[in-house]
């Protein structure tokens, strides 16, 4: 299982341009714009799922996240650079609703590959310097069957849609696998045919390093060191912090939310 070491922060809308120039100068890398659509599914609640050994947390149900990138031609904008991120401050997305709707129900040939990921709650520990979370990820390149779609595929697994969101932002691929992301999140409300901006008035900042194996202590230490270096360099400007691990818990049935 891949370990993701990460740190988070947030900035307001006005600081975006300055942050981008700061990070470009600091890393010597260009900003890369990205747009993702995420679809999160939960095990079908109508099924009577046997909760084996759930008290000891040996077998747990967790959400599945399907992520697909949104091609830039679907984004309505005059220019495709990181600058469009600062113009997106409203609830409305510059993306056609129909397109987003079709993404998971599309059975046509032109469906694009998606990534399927399952996340665990971040590791516990009071003195953690970075957030460490296990995840496993796979690529769905195609779905089979007569009525094939992501949705149908998930249904076969016993999963039903939970919620969907869109991320649009800018990322930097810094040295040694460190990724620095600045993005906004829109909740895509399926029933009301509307979107609402979750990150109102600002951007979420995420800096992460993926380590292939948790047993590779050296790589984990190296990644932690890199994140802490970044944190030190940005000190007094952006405070990169370790978030509350409970907020990053995608498991089901632990917060009375099921």
């Amino acid at each position: 299982m891949v370990q993701r070491l990460s740190l988070f922060s947030a900035i307001d809308d006005d600081s975006f341009e300055l942050l981008i120039s700061t990070i470009s100068t600091l890393s010597g890398r260009p900003p890369v714009i990205f747009a993702n659509f995420s679809h999160v599914a939960i095990p079908d609640p109508t099924y009577d799922i046997e909760k084996v050994n759930v008290k000891n947390q040996l077998v747990e149900q967790t959400r599945i996240r399907i992520m697909q990138d949104i091609p830039f031609e679907k984004i309505k904008a005059n220019e495709y650079s990181y600058r469009i991120c600062s113009t997106l401050t409203k609830d409305d997305l510059p993306i056609e609703r129909d397109y987003l709707k079709l993404l998971i129900t599309n059975s046509s040939m032109d469906s694009r590959p998606s990534s399927l990921s399952i996340w665990d709650i971040p590791s516990a520990g009071k003195d953690r310097k970075v957030c460490m979370q296990s995840m496993t990820e796979s690529v769905i390149s195609d779905t089979g069957g007569s009525e094939s779609s992501i949705n149908a595929f998930l249904k076969e697994l016993g999963y039903v849609p939970d919620y969907q969101f869109v991320q649009i932002g800018t990322k930097f691929y810094m040295e040694s696998g460190l990724v620095f992301q600045v993005y906004k999140i829109w909740n895509v409300n399926d029933s009301e045919e509307s979107t609402n901006l979750i990150t109102k008035g600002g951007f979420l900042i995420e800096a992460y390093v993926n380590v292939a194996k948790i047993t590779d202590i050296e790589a984990v230490n190296q990644g932690t060191k890199q994140l802490l270096n970044l944190k030190r360099e940005l000190r007094e400007y952006i405070d990169l912090v370790v978030p509350d691990r409970k907020c990053m818990d995608p498991r089901i049935g632990h917060l009375n939310d099921f």
Partner: protein
Amino acid sequence: MSQPAALTDPLGSVPKYDFSNVPVQAFDAVRMKLAQLTHSLSKIRDDLSKADLPQWYSLQSQLTVTLTQLSSLNSTLQHFEELLDSTVPYPLPHFPTTAHEGLLTTLMRKKQIPEVEAWIKDAIDHSGIDINNENQEDLEKFIQKDKAITNWALDFINHEHSNYSFQGLYTAEDLSNGAGDSKIPLYRSTTFKTKNVSPFSIDSVLKYIYQGSTNESSSVSE
């Protein structure tokens, strides 16, 4: 059979020398200055003989240091000039004259070594005056002229120096045009309100990403 001790072994006993008139302080001062100077000079020579030349600014700073040491040595020598001129060194009787003849002659030498003599001759030749044939008045005149040139050069450098602004962020031209007041800093202090105020709670956004709960419900639980 008893003889005075002084006569039995006149060479073995060390006579009491009077060191009180040796200008130790002056010698020590000059020695220290010379040691510093030789050290810096040899460092410059080593640096220049290296395959990759040092940066210009390090050379310049070394040169400045060396020049300062040179002028400091000069002033020390001037300060003790009278004393050093009137001091006559001589070897003590128990100095091994035969064994260290070379060292002794070097130490006792009052004449310049041939190299230095060549330098002096070279300088005189280049100055274009004939010391032997010109009279005192002409020499005085020549020295006055030399001093005048030096003064002119100094004035010129000072004038040029004042034409440029060596500090701050503006050129002298900018300053004379009133482009910027050098007293007001161009950039604000970094501590002044650059700290970001988080526009939302990071935890609540992460809660949305991982659990799908919207801001309202998370704010209730917090």
